[in-house]
Symmetry: C2
Subunit: 242 residues, 2 copies
Amino acid sequence: MEENAATYNASRYERPSVTVDVVIFTLLNGELHVLLVLRRRWPYEGYWAIPGGFINMDESLDQAARRELEEETGVQDVYLEQLYTFGEPQRDPRTRVISVAYIAIVPADDHELHVSDESSDVRWFPVRTRPTQLAFDHDLILNYALSRLRSKLEYTTLAFQLLPEVFSILELKDIYEQILGEKLDKGNFYRKIKEAGILEETSLLREGRGRPTRLWRFRRDRGDKQFVFRWREDRGSDDEPE
Amino acid sequence: MEENAATYNASRYERPSVTVDVVIFTLLNGELHVLLVLRRRWPYEGYWAIPGGFINMDESLDQAARRELEEETGVQDVYLEQLYTFGEPQRDPRTRVISVAYIAIVPADDHELHVSDESSDVRWFPVRTRPTQLAFDHDLILNYALSRLRSKLEYTTLAFQLLPEVFSILELKDIYEQILGEKLDKGNFYRKIKEAGILEETSLLREGRGRPTRLWRFRRDRGDKQFVFRWREDRGSDDEPE
DNA sequence: ATACTTAGTGTGTAATTAACACTAACACAA
DNA sequence: TTGTGTTAGTGTTAATTACACACTAAGTAT
C-alpha cells in the first residue's frame, strides 16, 4: 500500500528529490560511446556526469527520461528502458536525492546531428576510454548500464537499435563482438541471423576492397517486443548493480 | 547529473512522495502465495494492496524494503531484489507518489510464524486465486513481479529460496512446474539438477505412501550469486511491466 | 591471368535436449 | 509370502542444435 493508513499525512513527511538520469549510448565509428556532461559547479565540479534532471510533477518517469534525452541529444523515438533506481542517502551531498536511471540507445544514423565538439561540456566518450571517476555514484550507474546492455544484447534485438537504417551482416557481427568482448564465428553468425528471419534484404550493395557486401534492414513488423533474437543461450545474470 | 546547474534550488521544486512496495512471495502447502494487506480507508477502501510505506530520509531503498518486509512478516535475511519503479502521475489520487517496488522471497520454513488468520487484514493469497482488482496500480506491479519471478527461476537458483532447509527433488520439480506453469520430465529434471552439483545429499528420508524419498539441501557455498542453475535455456524476456 | 581481399556457404562432429521405458523401495492386502 | 499399488529414481536412444573450420564467390589491383 501507499501508506500506513493510521499515520498518513503527506505534509508531515520530508520528501526526497527525485531525478531521472539517462545513460545514452550510441555507435560512432563502429565503437560504442556514451554521452556525459561536465559539471560546472559544486558538488563534483569538473567531473563528468550522466545527464539527468528533476522530474516534473505532472509527467511520468518515462516521459521525464524522454524529455531529458531530447534536451541533450535532440533525438526522439529511440529505445529507452528503465534501468534501476539508486537511492543511497548520501549519494548527493546537498540533499536526499533518489535517481531513477534509464538506458537509451541512439541509432548510428542520428549521431552527427547533435554531437558536440571537443571543447563542449557535453561529449560522447568511447566506453573503453571513458573518464574513470564520474560525479556522484555515476560510475556505479554506468557500469550497471553496461552490464545490462551486454546481457540484453544476448537475448534481444537491442543491437539493431545501434545500427543505421541499412547495414551489413558483418557490421552487425562487429557490434556483437565489441559489446560482448568476444570473437564470434562468421559462418554460425550468418546462419543464425538468417534463420531468425528478422532481417529484410535490400537491393543495395556497398563496394569496398573485396567482394561487395549486401545491405540489410531490420524488420520492424511482427511486433518488435514479442520477438527475441537470441544470439546465444549462455548469459550472465545482471541482477543488481556492482 | 543531479540537476541543471543553472536552475538548481531544491526548495523551488515540489517533491513527490516516495514509497517502497514489497511483493512478498512464499510457499504454503506447496503452492505459491503472495502477501496482501486490506486497505481500511480512502482511496481504494476495501481493496487489497501490496504492502509498502514511505522511505525514511536516512535509510537506503534496500533498507526501507527490508524494514517493510520485517514489519509485515517478521522475517529477516531473505532474498530481496529491486523490481521496478512506478511513477505515473495519477497512480495515487491523493498526491504524486513514486513507488520503488521490490520482490521478496520468504522460505517455506518461516511461514507458520507470521501467517495471519482468515479475518486479518494481512493475508497470504495463492497467486492462482488472488483477488483480481487490487488497489492503485498494484495489479500491474504484481503481474510484473510474477513475470520476473518466472523468468528468473529459469536461470537462477531463486527457486531454492522458496523451499525449506531440506526437500526432495520432486518437490523442487513441483515448484518449477507451478511457477513455470508447465509439466517437466522427471528423468530429465533429476539428471540436470544432479549434474549441476548444487544439491547436497542428507541422510534423511521421508516416508510416504510409496518408496521413501531422499532429502537434499541446497549448497550455499561457492558464492551463491555467481552460480547459476539454468533449468532450461529458453526464456521469455521480462523487460517492462504490462 | 593471377594474386589478394572481403563476403558468404557447406559440412561433419560434438554436445544437448527431449521422450519414454525401465528398475527400486516401500505399504498393504489376499 | 506373494502380488499389487504407489511413489522414487535410473538408463537408453533419437532428434536437434551448437561449434569449428574448410570451402566457394565476387569483386579490386598488378
